[in-house]
Symmetry: C2
Subunit: 249 residues, 2 copies
């Protein structure tokens, strides 16, 4: 936990924050934080700063906010991911929040197992908890917006065109793509503010008609090299590559 | 499991391979493979090809090798990683094998918890099993060479100079580095055959004297951007970025 995140309703008018549960237990038991210590804090959806720890136990930590004036790093990457199995879903939510994404859309595709949509990991509170774990690691206050789309066709027809139109580049990771991500001429066109949308398929890959639907919406297919990555590994590797492409001139 | 890997001693003179245990159970129970099916196979440390499944049960699968003439993708990246906690270690072994690395050196550093060196995950058979899981995912036969170094100074003095001398570039991932990996001018100098050595620190980072020891051996420090990544996330992100840098011209 590299930042203590709190909700606006946990902050009182005198600048005192009281956090309970997991965050207090972590500060007290894992980090061994003690009263008087200065910690990095952030208001979820707003700014970051510093606070002094006034009291701490495994049930509750009370902090006095000293400053709250740093902007959270901006996010300009959207992820579209064929819904993976629940254990992998948890790690994807955390890693995506840590690495910084704007939106995550979990979608149905032919090779997605339908029962995955019934997992409790997709409950609103659960999604939020995994995203917060990721933000606490990555040091950010900006919760990605997560949506779940259990039908492929309506998603493609209703959401993809606007997403693609709003993006500088839209990429579809696809095992059989003829071009690698290094071959799409992306170095010149991208910078840190470019909106990028990235689609990542299920284990076993996208089906041909699904690839066609993305291509029709303006997505470029990109391969992932000779090796077959698990979905969660592909997410992290591609987010790392996109970050590098944004920075290279 | 995208390839069935076998040891040379599991292959008889008639080209018949018999695999037992986890691999047989996976083919039978998860993939529902049936006699007559054609599977991708590979001899560990040697070539890959195809085989016909002759018999399969959850205890044993018998395959007839049809071809064994494809080279495994080459690996030219070495990893030096401050030994992480055991659960993370497992995932790092798997992901590194999937993404393709040549050597992995787990080392002691000031912020590594000493008891981690006693974990059963570091037993030879355990390391091999996790690497094989990674190779089965990534489709390769080339086991990374793993070594464990429980003292920092002897590692730095005895191993680092030769590693650095054999590498086109040696990088040390470091939170406080003044340059990002995008700012080191690496696009021109690297291609798919370049030997690259990458050092990744513990949670909490390298100490100043450790950074100095790497720099004295010729390592360049590179930052990881505004966000703080977990070690296992940093490994995957950086391996993805290095693969991209090798391919960009």
């Amino acid at each position: 936990m590299n930042i203590v995140l709190f909700d606006s309703n946990e902050l009182d008018a005198g600048g005192i924050v009281s956090v309970r549960g997991r965050r207090a237990a972590y500060l007290s038991e894992v980090q061994g934080a003690e009263p008087g210590g200065i910690l990095r804090v952030g208001e979820i959806g707003s700014k970051m700063g510093q606070a002094e720890l006034l009291e701490v136990s495994s049930e509750e930590a009370v902090l006095k906010v000293l400053s709250l004036d740093e902007h959270s790093p901006e996010t300009h990457t959207n992820l579209i991911i064929a819904l993976p199995r629940p254990q992998m879903l948890k790690r994807i939510l955390q890693n995506a929040a840590t690495m910084g994404v704007n939106r995550i859309m979990f979608i149905r595709s032919a090779r997605v197992i339908k029962s995955y949509f019934a997992t409790p990991v997709l409950a609103e509170e659960s999604i939020r908890e995994h995203l917060l774990l990721g933000l606490e690691q990555g040091v950010s206050t900006k919760l990605p917006v997560v949506s779940v789309h259990d039908r492929f066709r309506p998603f493609v027809e209703d959401e993809l065109p606007a997403l693609s139109a709003d993006s500088t580049v839209s990429l579809l990771a696809h095992t059989n793509a003829s071009s690698d991500i290094s071959e799409l001429g992306l170095v010149e066109g991208l910078d840190s503010d470019s909106q990028i949308t990235l689609g990542i398929g299920p284990e076993g890959g996208w089906q041909a008609h699904e690839v066609e639907a993305f291509e029709n919406a303006g997505f470029l297919c990109c391969g992932l090299g000779a090796r077959v990555l698990r979905v969660e590994t592909a997410v992290v590797s591609l987010l790392g590559q996109i970050e590098l492409l944004r920075k290279l001139q």
